[in-house]
């Protein structure tokens, strides 16, 4: 599925959280959404997930305006994972996946749960309560939940935050493989520049609600005369007057 945002804006009284942004993610592509804390990334994702009503602008899914589409139909093809959003802690991994499978109307749920837990190595703790898991395990469960419905568009908010390098690498590799197999469209918000370089086809840099730069990782690095994306990010984030 193709995701396009046109003139998207969100104002909270006098504060403009997201200021007239435009971007397009083609089917099977991954777009990195970068920017310092408070730059409008979460608000943007909130609008794309239908949790926040935009003040202006439109969101198009396969060239159809989200507002005119059936909300439940669209949401059944979308999913989201973030370490800041958790699953009920008192429920086991299997129970959580079963519940979300039902909410997403997943067919042949038993097999889907088996496949996803097998792929993400959740089998050894599938009957454990989610609250008893390590952060690495929780993170993989959250990813399993986000893939339970085989989404066409996936929103990932810092998918490897607080993970050790080994688990972080496992998750990144899994996302890479899953993407190439399933051709899903991904919007990835991350502060891990190495992760962005590895996973994203394009990136947009946000600052104070606006998109201040965009391109492939390599093109941005070259444009700003830096050696890597991290230095490029720092340059853009610290330069007050640089806007697209």
């Amino acid at each position: 599925m193709k995701l396009e945002v046109k003139n998207l804006e969100k104002k909270f009284k006098d504060f403009t959280a997201v200021n007239n942004i435009n971007f397009l993610i083609n089917e099977g592509q991954t777009l990195g959404l970068l920017g310092p804390n408070g730059c409008g990334k979460t608000t943007t994702i909130g609008m794309l997930l239908g949790l926040i009503k935009p003040s202006n602008g439109q969101i198009f899914i396969d060239e159809k305006n989200f507002e005119n589409l059936n909300r439940e139909k669209v949401l059944s093809k979308i999913n989201f994972a973030s370490p800041y959003v958790e699953l009920p802690k008192k429920l086991t991994v299997r129970e959580n996946l079963e519940i979300y499978g039902r909410l997403y109307g997943v067919k042949d749920l038993k097999n889907r749960i088996f496949d996803i837990t097998d792929d993400l190595n959740l089998g050894s703790f599938i009957n454990k309560r989610t609250g008893e898991l390590s952060s690495g395990q929780k993170n993989r469960v959250s990813l399993a939940k986000s893939l339970i419905n085989k989404p066409k568009i996936l929103f990932l908010d810092e998918p490897t935050a607080s993970l050790d390098p080994d688990i972080g690498d496992f998750v990144r590799k899994y996302i890479e493989e899953y993407k190439s197999k399933n051709k899903i469209t991904i919007l990835l918000a991350s502060h891990n520049m190495k992760e962005v370089e590895r996973l994203c086809d394009q990136v947009i840099m946000m600052k104070e609600g606006k998109i201040v730069d965009r391109g492939t990782c390599q093109s941005l690095i070259e444009k700003h005369g830096r050696n890597n994306l991290e230095d490029t990010f720092l340059k853009i984030a610290r330069n007050k007057y640089e806007l697209e």
């Binding site: 608000t43 949790l51 059944s76 699953l87 009920p88 008192k90 129970e95 979300y100 039902r102 909410l103």
Partner: protein
């Protein structure tokens, strides 16, 4: 309405209840304590009051019905608060579930929590104090239905507040029923209230429910008009509660509060 989704969300709360024995114990504990307390109070009243002469069960039956109302409202609030406390709120609201399906799931599941708490208390009252609310007879079903609808309505209003104002509204969840209890004329006839308060009280279903309960237990008369009135008012408030919930949800999307709830 997709009942598989309603069942899925109900299952979340069912799993939660069955996973924790202390949670079940907590559900049973408070209603049972209420029964002990009001059982002894009502026993004392029957010894000291001619009004309650030979009707030892009136106060205790009122306590049980009030507790049923309290449990249904608090169950609804608790299930919603569970989503906030477990930081599951965003996951729930981005899933393809309709608001009416969330309301249906919470309404249907709240009855389970309510019954887990109330049934042991009802059964305890029979051997301990010789009081059975089943003496009310068939009208009991209508009275419980009316109480449940009103309890859920209060739950809907509180959860609307939680969506609108965030978790800081939590304290209101606990206080909501105590605010209405004096007007509900649970333990005393409506004539006790000042005239102007009687007018306000009559627009609540509680007065009609508890007046009818006393009417049946003391005078052995059933007023179907009163029962019908109680149910009608409860349905009206329930529909109002649903409307307020939808308005709060729409408002929360504009204010962007949905994404931060529980974080």
């Amino acid at each position: 309405m997709n009942w598989n989704k309603v069942y899925g969300l109900s299952l979340r709360h069912f799993y939660l209840i069955k996973s924790s024995f202390p949670r079940i114990l907590d559900l049973i504990y408070w209603p049972s304590i209420q029964i002990f307390l009001w059982g002894f109070i009502s026993k004392f009243f029957t010894l000291s009051s001619t009004y309650y002469n030979n009707t030892v069960g009136v106060i205790l039956s009122a306590a049980i019905l009030y507790d049923f109302l309290f449990r249904s409202s608090i169950s609804y609030n608790m299930m919603f608060l569970e989503e906030i406390w477990s930081r599951n709120f965003t996951n729930l609201f981005i899933s393809p579930i309709k608001i009416k399906e969330i309301i249906a799931a919470l309404t249907l599941t709240a009855i389970l929590r309510t019954l887990i708490g109330t049934v042991p208390a009802v059964l305890l009252a029979i051997p301990l104090f010789g009081v059975s609310i089943f003496k009310i007879g068939l009208p009991l079903i209508s009275l419980l239905l009316s109480l449940y609808l009103f309890g859920i309505t209060l739950g809907l209003l509180v959860t609307s507040g939680l969506i609108r104002f965030g978790p800081s509204f939590e304290n209101i969840a606990w206080a909501s029923l105590f605010f209405l209890a004096p007007l509900g004329c649970i333990y005393y006839p409506i004539e006790i209230l000042p005239h102007w308060l009687q007018i306000i009280a009559k627009i609540l279903p509680l007065v009609h429910i508890f007046e009818e309960m006393r009417n049946i237990l003391i005078n052995d008369i059933i007023s179907y008009t009163q029962i019908l009135l109680a149910i009608t008012i409860s349905i009206f408030y329930f529909m109002l509660g649903v409307a307020v919930f939808y308005i709060s949800y729409a408002g929360a999307k504009i204010r962007g509060t949905l994404i931060n709830v529980g974080e």
